[in-house]
Each structure stands twice: as C-alpha cells, then as structure tokens.
Amino acid sequence: MADKKKGNAFTNNPLVKAVGTQKIVVLLVIIVLFAFFSIMSSGFRKYPTIVSIFDYSYYISFMAIGVTFCLITGGVDLSIGTGMICYALFGGYLITRQGMPVIVGILGTLLLGLLMGCINGVLVAVLELPPFIATLGTMMVARGFGSIITGGMSVTWPAASSEQGWFRMLFKINKPGLLLPVGFIWVVIFVILMSLFLNKTRPGRYIIAIGSNKEATRLSGVNVVKYQALAYIISGVFAGIAGIAYAAVFSSSIAPGTGAGLELDAIAGAIIGGTSMTGGCGSIFGTLLGVFVMSMLKSGLPYIGLQANWQQIITGLILILAVFIDVIKNRKLA
C-alpha cells in the first residue's frame, strides 16, 4: 500500500510488499502477545480459553468490518455500538415477547441494522452532515429506541439448551467433548468477501476514491452520494450481524441503554489494522488483525493478574502507537 518509494530489505521483501508492512507488524504483535500470555499463564494457553478469545471477538470483528468502509471514505460510524445492542434487543423482543421463530428475530435484527445504515447514509451522503455528528445522533437514537422497543426491560435470546437455541450453533458448537469456534468461519468468509468487494469491484474502488479525494471522484463522473451512502449501509448491516453474533455467543441478558463504547473497540481495531482515520486507505484483513490485538489484550491481561485500570491504560497506549505508525507512514509518503 504505502512502501513504493525506497525501503529496506524488510520492506522490499515480496511477501511483505504483498501483505503490507503494518499488517505484518500487527501479526507479529499478535504472535508476541499470544506467546507472552501463554508463557505467563498456564490457564491462558488452554484450548477452551483460546476458543473463548475467538468467541468473544466475533461481534467486534463484524462491527469493525463494517465501520472500516466508513473510515475509508474519511467518515466514521459511531452508531454501531448502541445500534448493535438495539438490533439484538429488537430481534430478542420478537422471539421472546412476540413468540416468533428465531429466524424472524434474526431477520428483524438484520433489517433494523440495514434501516439504520440507510438513515446514516442519507444523513451523511445526501444531507452532507458531518459523519461524526450525524452518527453521534443516531447512536443516541439507537440507545433510546432499544429501550422503547422492550419497555426498558432486558431481553434474553433463547438458551442453547432450549428448542429455539439452534442459532447459537451458528457461532459456537459446544457439546461434551466437542468445542469449535465455528463463528470464526463466518468472520473469515465475510473478510474475504468484503476484501474482494473493496479492492476488486467498482463500488469498492469508488469508496476508496471518495476517501482519497471526494471532489476529484465526483468530477470524474462517479455518483459519490450513492457510494458514500453505501459505506454506511454496509456498516449498518454488519452491526446487525454483530448483534446476532453477540446474542449467540453470550448467555447474558441484553440490557437496553448499554453498548456505548463498543463502537470504539471496533474503530480501534480498524485503526490498529492500518485503516487511516483520514480516509482513502484501509484493508479488511488488517481490520481483522487489529481486532485480534484488542481481543488478545482484553483476554490476556486479566490472566497475568493486571488490574482493570492497567488494562485500559495498556490498550490505550497500543492504540496511540498504532495511530502514530499511521502518522509516520503518511509523513513519509508526503
């Protein structure tokens, strides 16, 4: 992506060139973190723990895949965190309070995500509101709307043991003697599909172009309104998928009014993975790696006995470091 000029032996390596420096670095960080936590804690290096790291990363991964598109256009989508909870509340409400089949709940969750994505798209692309403000607004709307749907009460999707619990098998298979993080297959499929979409299709390339220079893209005859809106619609739908993953992985009840802050985990994942906040560059695969850095930290730090406040400090420092790398990279290019 970035290292066309000169570079050294490392950056000139064909493999590094193909994958991108930052992604290689992030991958190394993941490996180092994993090795470190495994050496420090015997509990961490167990198979069920590793499966749990995967399990708990799905919903952030899906949100992050979606929001990467908004970031690439130079925007942002803050509504995905509270939105994800809101959509899952709606789906759970249909199932538990209205007695509808799970599949209807799943479709409802996705549809509401799609709807919110469309609203964000209209606000940002058509009405030209600043994405930060527009999605800050819809973030609040989603939070309140979730409470209204359920009458302010929390909702629990059907338990794995119940008849309706089959949807949990979409993300994790957990039978005596068989524990598989199948949700990761979905994550990989979507990463591949959305990577191809972003890099190999016309709409994807337009989304990147809008992030590099919206005016130039418009002048070259591209319908920028349409493709900018598309980025937010993608983000909304993926927040819907995240809502389903969340409901499937966690047995906990979903409480209205929560979810604020989860969008930042997803955005941080995308940034660590090499997507630029200023737009025009980014990769879905990088985003997945970035999310795993966050997940590794969140799961690993408690195992080495680090208390809550230190966990936040370390996660914050890693984010700053990642953005710093991005800044240096841009400076070199300029």
Partner: protein, 372 residues
C-alpha cells in the same frame, strides 16, 4: 492521604453497619429490622406520592413496582412511579427528581443512581417540606433531614448470608485440601455501594468462618476490596480470596474474568455479586465446563435472578443465589411514604433477602421474588 481518610471513613461506616446487621433467621433469610413497625400503617388522607426509581431495565424493578402498586391500592393512596432509561442516566434521574418536587406530592420515594448528584434537589425538597424516602440503595451524603428513611436490602448482611451458605459446602473441602484453595469474587465494579458491600460482606464472613476453623486467609486482586476488607493480607495463606473487577461493564470482560478464575488450579468457588456477574459466570463457564457442586468442580454462587441465572441454578451449574425481596421493598416504600406524610416517626428498614437453590426455588415465598 485522601485514600487513607476514605478507608478510615469506610471502616467506620462498616463497623456501624455491622452493629445494625439483623440477626439471621435459621431458614436462610435476613429478617427485616424491627426498628419501624410497618404492620398497621394507615393513610390519614388519600395522598399522592412521586416515586423515582432506577429505571425498568431489570425485571427486579417490575417486582418493586408490583409491590408498591399493591400496597398503594390497599392504603388508598396514589403514586407516579418513574425511572430513567438506564442505570447510567444519572442526569435524567436528577431531572425526574426535580419534576417530582415540582409536582408537590405528599412525599417522594427515591432510588438514587448517584449518591451525590441528587443533593441540590434533595435540599430543595427539604426546603419545600417534602419528605424523601430512599429505597434500594441509600443516599449517604444527603443534606441532613431531607431523607427521612431508607428501605433497602442490607447488602453487607446479604453478602454474609451468601458466605455462610457457601461455607457450609466448602468447609470440608478446605479442610481436606493439601495446598491452598482459592475463592473467586466477581464484582461488577468497585464504586457502587450495593456491589461493594455485597462483596465485602462475603469476603469478611468467609474469612471469619475459615479463621474460626484454624485456616489462614488472605485477599488479593482489586485494590479497593483488598483495602476495605477486614482481612490482613498475608503470604502462604490456606484460603485465598481473589477479587476480580472488569475495566468496563461488558459481558465479554466479565466472562473473561470468570474464565481467569476458573483456570486457576486451586479455585474451588466463585461468587458473583449481582445479575451481571452471575450471567457472566454462566457465559464464562460454557467453554470450560467447570462449575458445579461436585467435589472436583468449582462451586458457583451468585446474586439476584433472571432467566439465565434461574435456569443455571435449576440445572446445577450454579449452586445457589441470594435474591432480594423487591415485592416487599415496594410495599415498604409506600408504607414509609405514608407514615412520613402522616407525620409519624420513621426510620430505616432492611427489606431482607433470601437464599435459594434448586431445592427451594419453587416455594411460593421465594418464587415471588424471582423474576425473569
């Protein structure tokens, strides 16, 4: 310096709360403190009350509302029961309290989300001559004379009850263990009064019981709990109480905390001090499958109810849980409000709690306090 002062204050408060801890009834309930007689309350007029709750996020609040409504109907008084969207909407709640004061009711019930955000409004209510009855959690820093009574679970005593029930099962296991044993405590946070006291009540009681059996005890993990518990930290203790508090209240982080505890070789028990922690224990256990009542399993004990926790208690994943008595709490609030409006002398009421396991959760007495 500031920390020391705070811990000194807390220690004093704790000693004070110890003195008022009610005697435990044999069947596993803390009995309502008998300082105020709520048995024959009558309303002198058809009063109207404003009640500001913490919202309706948890079914728990529906049960409080039910108890309050029934008692209001019985006494012939009316009420307007409101609450914010979520338990983090502190500013909304203050706004609701202000509206309640402006409505000039005979008295106001308040379950404060923040112990100090309401102080200005409370002063106003006091100036307007409207008595306030706190419920669910107290308002320790309230202007003097504004809050005339509190109806709440004595959370410290509730934590102690959990510890006693847990220790009955653990006693022999601790004695038989060759090395150290670890008892995990999961707290949603280290700031809210109810969560912290439930944790400290449990920690102190376990330590007391284990020490009485001749074991050494230490507390490690979250600084706040380590500092405020009555246990002196020691090396090489037989019983290690390990307190985990997540950096944010999310299902993911609390489930990870639970797994961290489950993965330690010497863990024999985990206690979660509210619904959030209890549900995180169920999630965290799913992949590890270590919770249960068997000799080689980790005993899970928690607080509150809800579909997930009830199911886990029923199928044996969790050994038991403490439930508060929200229906009784709702009724007590109305009683206290009525007495205050009558101009009668009122005081704090412990609305009690109950211990339930798979064996007794169907009893009507307990079932009415278990919500989905």
């Amino acid at each position: 310096m500031k920390n020391k002062m705070i811990s000194a204050l807390l220690a004093t408060a704790m000693v004070a709360s110890m003195i008022t801890v009610p005697v435990l009834a044999s069947e596993g309930e803390t009995e309502a403190a008998a300082s105020v007689d709520l048995s024959n309350v009558e309303a002198k007029e058809a009063y109207h009350f404003e009640i500001v709750s913490k919202g309706f996020q948890h079914q728990y609040w529906q049960a409080v509302l039910k108890g309050a409504q029934e008692e209001a109907d019985r006494l012939g008084v009316t009420m307007n029961f409101v609450g914010p969207n979520s338990e983090s909407d502190i500013a909304d709640q203050v706004q609701m309290l202000n509206s309640a004061i402006n409505a000039k009711p005979a008295a106001i019930g308040l379950a404060a989300l923040s112990t100090d955000a309401c102080n200005d409004a409370l002063q106003q209510a006091k100036d307007a001559g409207i008595p306030i009855v706190g419920f669910d959690s107290g308002v320790p820093g309230a202007p003097e004379g504004s809050v005339v009574a509190n109806a709440a679970t004595d959370n410290y005593a509730a934590g102690e009850l959990a510890a006693e029930k847990t220790y009955e099962v653990l006693k022999d296991r601790i004695a038989a263990a060759e090395g150290s044993v670890r008892i995990g405590v999961m707290g949603q946070d280290a700031t809210s009064e109810s969560i912290v006291n439930r944790g400290l009540g449990f920690i102190d009681k376990i330590a007391e019981l284990a020490t009485a059996d001749g074991h050494t005890v230490t507390v490690e993990g979250n600084d706040k709990y380590v500092q405020d518990s009555k246990v002196e930290a020691t090396d090489d203790a037989k019983v290690i109480i390990d307190v985990a508090v997540p950096s944010q209240v999310t299902a993911e982080l609390s489930a990870t905390d639970c797994q961290t505890l489950l993965n330690k070789e010497d863990t024999i028990c985990i206690y979660g001090s509210n619904q959030h922690s209890g549900e995180a224990m169920v999630t965290g256990n799913e992949n590890l499958q270590k919770l249960g009542s068997g000799e080689d399993q980790v005993l899970g004990v928690t607080f509150d109810s809800g579909t997930v926790i009830k199911e886990a208690v029923k199928n044996g994943t969790l050994y038991g849980a403490i439930t508060q008595a929200p229906v009784a709490m709702g009724a007590a609030v109305i009683d206290l409000l009525t007495m205050a409006a009558n101009g009668e002398e009122v005081g704090d009421v412990d609305t009690g709690c109950q211990w339930y396991t798979a064996d007794n959760m169907e009893d009507p007495e307990i079932a009415q306090n278990l919500y989905d």
